[in-house]
Symmetry: C2
Subunit: 300 residues, 2 copies
């Protein structure tokens, strides 16, 4: 049993109301509110799974919980607005909780996000230190919505930032969610975008599957985070970068107008009509089978 095969069984059973334009399976759900879409997503951050319980400052864990979710809003071209937070913890020290919420609130204020609800509970000792979750709500203009399913053959694959070695470099804690970049790109330069949190290869494969296209990935063009190998860049996870599909017509304007000198924007492949759901290199080797395996929080 793994997360992906389980979700393949569960998700089709969930009935969606008519006003739900995008249901489970993308970075956020999108709910038609008339003038715009309400975006909603939830993510977990678990001690011992997503950070090292003993050594990670509580404030860094709190900030990371929010930033993971902001990355999902960024991928939909949205603006974050509200958050609801749960903490189930076996810790007894008030300092940890105060630190966690301080880090969370500081990050929330940076992005003008209001933490408007939550729940606290104890956990029996002996297992994980805590399970925390955050539900993010945001909005996006109807013509800004960026889905995983919007890539078309002939479109170019772009990415922001660098990949790999997120854990050792500290990137998994100190990254900046690509909200500004996502808002700049959405609607104007792309309508197909997602955030990369489970490794470039697995997430690219998800985009290829959702769009029913193949991806030729130019592995030599993938920007490596300091100290990362290509394999790490493909599979480490926790990059929190964006990948997007850009029509060839938009490529010159996008390169000329990119207004974020501190955020690399790289062309790393293109979408094909052949081999739908597959990611392969220039030599035609299928990358998402065999050698490389994507990151999965929910392992066998």
């Amino acid at each position: 049993m793994n997360e992906i095969s389980l979700l393949c069984k569960i998700l089709p059973r969930l009935k969606q109301r008519d006003e739900i334009a995008v249901g489970p399976g993308d970075d956020c759900a999108a709910i038609d509110m008339g003038d715009n879409y309400l975006l909603a997503a939830v993510d977990q951050l678990i001690g011992g799974v997503h950070y090292i319980s003993e050594t990670t400052p509580a404030a860094a864990a709190g900030a990371k919980l929010l930033k993971r979710n902001l990355s999902d809003i960024a991928a939909m071209g949205g603006v974050p607005l509200y958050a609801l937070v749960t903490v189930a913890s076996s810790r007894k020290e008030e300092e940890w909780f105060m630190g966690f919420y301080d880090g969370l609130e500081l990050e929330a204020e940076k992005w003008n996000v209001s933490i408007c609800g939550g729940d606290l509970s104890g956990l029996p000792a002996g297992g994980t230190s805590e399970v925390t979750t955050l539900t993010i709500l945001g909005k996006t203009a109807k013509n800004h919505l960026c889905l995983r399913s919007g890539a078309k053959p002939g479109y170019l694959l772009f990415c922001t930032g660098c990949f790999g070695n997120s854990l050792n470099s500290g990137h998994h804690l100190d990254f900046v969610p690509r909200l500004k970049e996502g808002e700049f790109l959405a609607g104007k330069y792309t309508t197909a975008m997602m955030d990369v949190s489970d490794g470039l290869l697995l997430d690219a494969c998800r985009m290829a599957t959702a769009s029913a296209v193949g991806i030729e990935l130019w592995t030599e063009c993938i920007p490596l985070r300091g100290g990362a190998t290509l394999e790490q860049a493909l599979t480490d996870g926790e990059d929190y970068e964006l990948i997007l599909a850009v029509s060839p017509d938009n490529v010159p304007d996008l390169k000329r107008n990119w207004p974020f000198p501190d955020t690399p924007l790289s062309e790393i492949g293109f979408f094909t009509s052949s081999r739908p759901g597959q990611v392969f290199d220039r030599d035609g080797n299928e990358l998402n089978k065999g050698t490389y395996k994507g990151y999965e929080h929910f392992r066998d």
Copy 2:
């Protein structure tokens, strides 16, 4: 350290955007959407804390997770619409997950709620079997919003249903959230309502505190669930009933028009201008100090 004192420190630090009409601390947050309010709340259900991991059917746990949250929407006089669900579990059997989501989805379809997002993660073995959370989104007409803070001196205290012995009777799993009752009451008969999940006494005390009034509780009028003592009715928790404040002018109409023959509606006290934040009996004994202690998930 306990949940209440911790929240007293954390909640005032959380900055709220202007459109948030009700922030953390009530049953739901209420966000001004122009024509109506968007309601949002989150709650957790933890194996070994809120149900017995070994013996509770997975479907019953899934249904309970949703129903706890529906009870919060009921307390605001709202209609539930969407849910986002997380599961962090150390279990390996696919059957448990399928059963959990089946129970959840079956309950969701009863109320026309769409599970539009979620996240699954593993947990290290040795602690709790799982931590599950659900964020509920709903809506309510602006004149239907029912807050804890709306009780006034001279108003009568009413409750739905019975109290106590929820665990042994199975009520904590098989209860029906009071959505129909809440919608009937909201705006017309009351503007001050809350759900009772942590014990009648603690939750009545919360309402008294939020409204800056006292409550004279007629303990002999409290309907006892089969097998419950008064003390259990006051402190057991997990009743998922509504308490509400009703103006004396509305009492005759409310009693005459109550359309739910299967749901007891009882008059169990009244609100006073003296002793704000206190709950006391007919003899003036303060109930929320000393003998009786409310239920708390997050103990010292």
